[in-house]
């Protein structure tokens, strides 16, 4: 299992013990969105490119795209989010994960920020 990495679009990703990428949105992102009321997830089996829109998050106020920080094939989606989208507000970087995918190129993890760099990146963005 790798450490969590972050994208400039506020997604997080880590590789689990099988080398699959688990992807969600950061705590900073959920705070910016506010009360999350609906999440649209991709179908399993879908092939995503790096940076492609993979899911949609709707807060009370607006809809936002979630982009895949890595290229790969979706093998699992987090069904909990369909009935309980608010889990992304309460536990964004654990229970509130979005999708799991088989990465085409695990080296794309190097394109992303570690948690310390991301913490600096978000300063002043809110």
């Amino acid at each position: 299992m790798t450490d969590m990495k972050y994208s400039r679009d506020h997604e997080w990703v880590f590789l689990d013990e099988n080398g699959n990428a688990v992807i969600g949105i950061s705590d900073f992102a959920q705070k910016q969105l506010g009360d999350i009321v609906y999440i649209e997830l991709p179908e399993t089996g879908r092939q995503l490119t790096q940076g492609e829109e993979a899911a949609v998050v709707e807060s009370v106020k607006a809809a936002s795209d979630v982009k895949s920080p890595l290229a790969g094939k979706v093998i699992e989606i987090n069904d909990i989010l369909v009935e309980q989208p608010e889990v992304v507000n309460s536990e964004p970087e654990s229970t509130g994960w979005f999708i799991k995918l088989v990465p085409d190129d695990p080296a794309q993890m190097n394109d992303l920020m570690d948690s310390a760099t991301y913490a600096e990146f978000i300063v002043g963005q809110d």
Partner: protein, 376 residues
């Protein structure tokens, strides 16, 4: 944040209370403090304080100001008694809505509260349409706050009990903690409540005293929008614009039959008269949405055959009903409550049902329960 944005007199208080500020109609205003859902539900249960100082407040002075202004609106104004308010619209010559506003008779003067984004357009329209003997000025020395919710009367009543005697759409000048304020029983949430014009020098003082009451919390523009949508109230630039008439917008009730029957009428009166007798091609309706996906503004609506039926004008998630709701402008053949349509969201069809407005009952104060006195 663009550097040219204006601040209201409560700007420092908003920052102190942790508000997230956004640009809105040229101002930097709080969209939320703690969260839209919580602020919304607190308003329905207790009371919330809103900063609405961005709204325009014009004072019209002069003999026959009411008669002069009648040319610009479809309602009567000459009969408006001092201390009474009326909701109306400025109309262009095609019957389209230039703005919606509340007119208050205040002694010899008329007070007009208009939308922030329409201030300049309104002023230009008023000045071009009424005579030189009527003076118009913007009341720049006042800030506007709203206290909305079922506890609003008890909270404001503690500071001055005279306020609680006001009924919906009545107004008067009262002293609050020694500050002369113009208080009206009105609002934009569907709840009982007040809108208060306070000298800007003292608005933070008054706001803090209202917040000292543990039943009062702050609420931002986000909750203001979800509350008005549940109450089925129009928002300029969404349900209303210069191509939509009051008849199409579901505001027939603001049109006075006396004014329609009297010469010289008002701007657009020919069009309005024709629409009332022949009907219109489109109407504002409410939509209940199946499933959880919010249906946003400009979403296309289609009938069961996939033919375009209309367009969503406002859509959100309703914190009270815990499901998505929307208002839409649709072809008149689909306006019957219960009509089923589809909303096209990200290339997928989501079933919606046309429904009567409001989504959540309005709870205005019309007087003591045993009173049969009726206003407006």
């Amino acid at each position: 944040m663009p550097p040219s944005l204006k601040h209201t007199a409560l700007y420092d208080l908003h920052r102190e209370l942790g508000a997230r500020m956004v640009p809105f109609a040229g101002y930097e205003l709080p969209v939320q403090y703690r969260g839209i859902r919580e602020e919304h539900l607190h308003t329905r249960k207790h009371a919330s304080l809103f900063d609405i100082s961005h709204m325009g407040r014009f004072i019209l002075m002069g003999k026959n100001a009411a008669r002069a202004l009648e040319r610009l609106v479809p309602c009567r104004l000459e009969d408006l008694l001092p201390g009474r308010q009326r909701y109306t619209t400025f109309l262009n010559t095609h019957g389209g809505i230039i703005d919606d506003l509340i007119v208050t008779a205040d002694g010899e003067a008329l007070i007009l509260v208009v939308n922030a984004a329409r201030k300049d357009r309104d002023r230009e329209f008023i000045e071009a349409s009424i005579g030189d003997d009527i003076e118009i000025r913007e009341s720049a020395e006042h800030s506007l706050i709203a206290l909305q919710g079922p506890d609003a009367a008890a909270i404001l009543g503690r500071l001055n009990n005279d306020c609680t005697e006001l009924r919906f759409m009545q107004a008067k000048t009262v002293d609050i903690l020694g500050i002369p304020c113009h208080v009206s029983r009105s609002g934009y949430t569907g709840e009982d409540g007040f809108e208060i014009a306070v000298p800007s020098t003292h608005v933070e003082f008054i706001a803090r005293r209202l917040l000292d009451d543990e039943r009062t919390r702050t609420a931002g523009l986000g909750a203001r929008d979800t509350l008005r949508l549940e109450a089925g109230l129009c928002l300029y630039g969404h349900e209303l614009n210069e191509d939509i008439s009051p008849v199409e917008a579901g505001l027939k009730w603001i049109i006075s039959e006396v004014r329609l029957a009297t010469d010289p009428g008002f701007y657009g009166s020919d069009v309005i008269r024709r629409q009332l007798s022949e009907g219109t091609h489109r109407q504002r309706v409410g939509l209940l949405v199946e499933g959880r996906a919010p249906v946003r503004e400009n979403t296309i609506l289609v009938n069961m055959d996939g033919e375009t039926a209309g367009r969503v004008t406002s859509g959100t998630y309703s914190p009270t009903l815990e499901k998505p709701i929307a208002m839409a402008c649709i072809d008149s053949e689909y306006t019957q409550a219960g009509t089923r349509l589809h909303a096209i969201i990200r290339n997928r069809q989501h079933p919606v049902t046309v429904t009567k407005l409001p989504f959540v009952s309005r709870r205005y104060y019309h007087g003591p329960a045993d009173s049969d006195h009726c206003i407006n």
